[in-house]
């Protein structure tokens, strides 16, 4: 869509379109995840109805929640570092928007087509740690500081298995460009049979599992929610935030869940594409224009499936202890992902 229009639109219009597209790509998944999974699915898993009053089946509940948060007073603690306290939620949210910038939604529907897309994703996903540390420190509250430090320790630990799990995909696809990875999967074949393409979840299953565990930890969702463990730290680095600034953190949390699901579906599930053999497409240039409309829908479906898995795990498991959490990252996930890289590299050379 965006690249199709780019040919005949002035620069400011392209920029405006990109900003609007980015807002939709970040906020729509966040809203859907919060309503469908956080409100409704959690309620059904706990044998209750969840929100029912606002709209049919409580479907307008999100607007009620946002309205509630917008009305609340914006409180800054008296001894807090005011400027940093106010910037911190924006840094976290900005990292989410930077992430979505390289996700391809169709053959021409992308915001930017970075050569080193995967590398960029891994780099900007670590920017949110800065925001969390800023929030924890500037609140002038020891629970917040502890939460911020725990979050930083956890995010650093789980970033490594995430990077290493993705390397397997990069080796197999032979490119770091996300569009290239999508094409490599849908144009690929399994032992000469190309009816399904070659989604990397089949060949890189270990990598996929490690990636999803690392995503769960990066999002600080239960079982990895030590940073906001409410029974010991009130709400971790978010303790002192109220009103709109809390809402920013909240949106960032679920928007990042959506964006990481999008990324995982690009890396492992074939992204926007359908197997190219179905329509006799040879390369990305043959792909029909209607994929620019169907592609985002396919992406959204895959995102919902992965977000469902993330939320399912979240509501099912108890919390890891801090030492178990660190040991799991360094002694289990990282060695397994290193072995995975080795095996992938050997097989790549062998075949």
């Amino acid at each position: 869509m965006i690249a199709l229009l780019a040919a005949d639109l002035p620069y400011w219009a392209q920029t405006l379109l990109r900003i609007l597209g980015g807002l939709v790509a970040v906020l729509l998944p966040a809203g859907t995840i919060v309503y469908l999974f956080l409100f409704k699915m959690m309620s059904f898993m706990q044998s209750r109805l969840g929100p029912m009053e606002a709209g049919p089946y409580g479907s307008m509940q999100l607007f009620a929640e946002v309205g509630k948060w917008l009305q609340k007073e914006d409180i800054t603690p008296a001894r807090a570092d005011r400027v940093i306290f106010k910037i911190a939620p924006l840094v976290v949210l900005a990292s989410t928007f930077l992430l979505v910038a390289v996700v391809p939604f169709g053959p021409d529907a992308w915001f930017t087509n970075f050569e080193a897309g995967v590398f960029y994703l891994l780099a900007v996903s670590s920017v949110s740690v800065l925001g969390i540390l800023m929030a924890g420190w500037s609140s002038a509250n020891k629970y917040s500081l502890l939460g911020g430090l725990r979050a930083a320790g956890q995010l650093i630990a789980y970033e490594l298995p995430m990077v290493l799990a993705v390397i397997g995909v990069i080796i197999q696809a032979g490119t770091m460009n996300l569009q290239g990875i999508v094409v490599a999967q849908n144009g690929g074949e399994i032992f000469g049979w190309n009816g399904l393409g070659n989604p990397y979840i089949l060949t890189q299953f270990t990598g996929f599992i490690i990636f999803m565990i690392a995503v769960q930890a990066e999002l600080t969702q239960t079982p990895f929610d030590m940073p906001i463990a409410e029974s010991e730290l009130v709400s971790g680095y978010m303790t002192e935030y109220s009103g709109f600034r809390f809402l920013t953190f909240f949106i960032a949390e679920f928007a990042t869940a959506g964006v990481f699901s999008l990324i995982a579906s690009v890396l492992f599930l074939g992204g926007w594409g359908v197997p190219f053999a179905w329509f006799d497409w040879k390369s990305i240039d043959d792909v029909s224009d209607w994929m620019n409309v169907v592609g985002p829908l396919i992406m959204f479906t895959k995102m919902m499936v992965l977000a469902f898995v993330i939320m399912w795990v979240r509501f099912s498991y108890p919390r890891f202890r801090e030492d178990q959490l660190q040991r799991f990252a360094w002694k289990v996930l990282i060695p397994i992902s290193l072995v995975n890289i080795m095996i992938t590299a050997i097989l790549k050379v062998a075949f």
Binding site: A123, L133, M134
Partner: protein, 173 residues
Amino acid sequence: MIAADLLVAQNVGFGIISLLMIVAALRVVTVNNVVHAALWLVVVLSGAAAQYLLLSAEFVAITQVLVYVGAVMVLFLFGTMLTRARIGAESDLNNKNWALGIPVALLMLGVMSYVIIDGFGSERLIENPGDMEPIPVQVISDDIFGPYLLPFWALSFVLLVAVIGAIVLARKD
């Protein structure tokens, strides 16, 4: 220089980002709070990444963000917050030898400028800056793992030694 050679938007961007970086760099050494200084340093380092992007050095820019903003600065902040990170002004941050830093910095500037001007002079990377394209990552990796393989191995070895040293230092028994 003829007008067609000038990349107006890029030059304006360079100016704005440089100004921001200079202000931030000055704030790093003048601000009286450790965490604030570290955060200003983040601005400087991200500014450097933005400058690399303007030179269409994508890979270097992303590496700059990944290594400096994502890892080094997070560890800096993590360390200071664990040990000494009071909110508000601190009085004892200045070392009494701080003035010595000025001649050292000027000397560094002189040496670096001399090396760059002597090494490249009026050479240009490409004839027409408008045609500048990002260098594919594969070319970079072919260079690192081709002609520069031996220095790469040496660096890896140094890093390995550092990691083992860190483990030895951290272990109490």
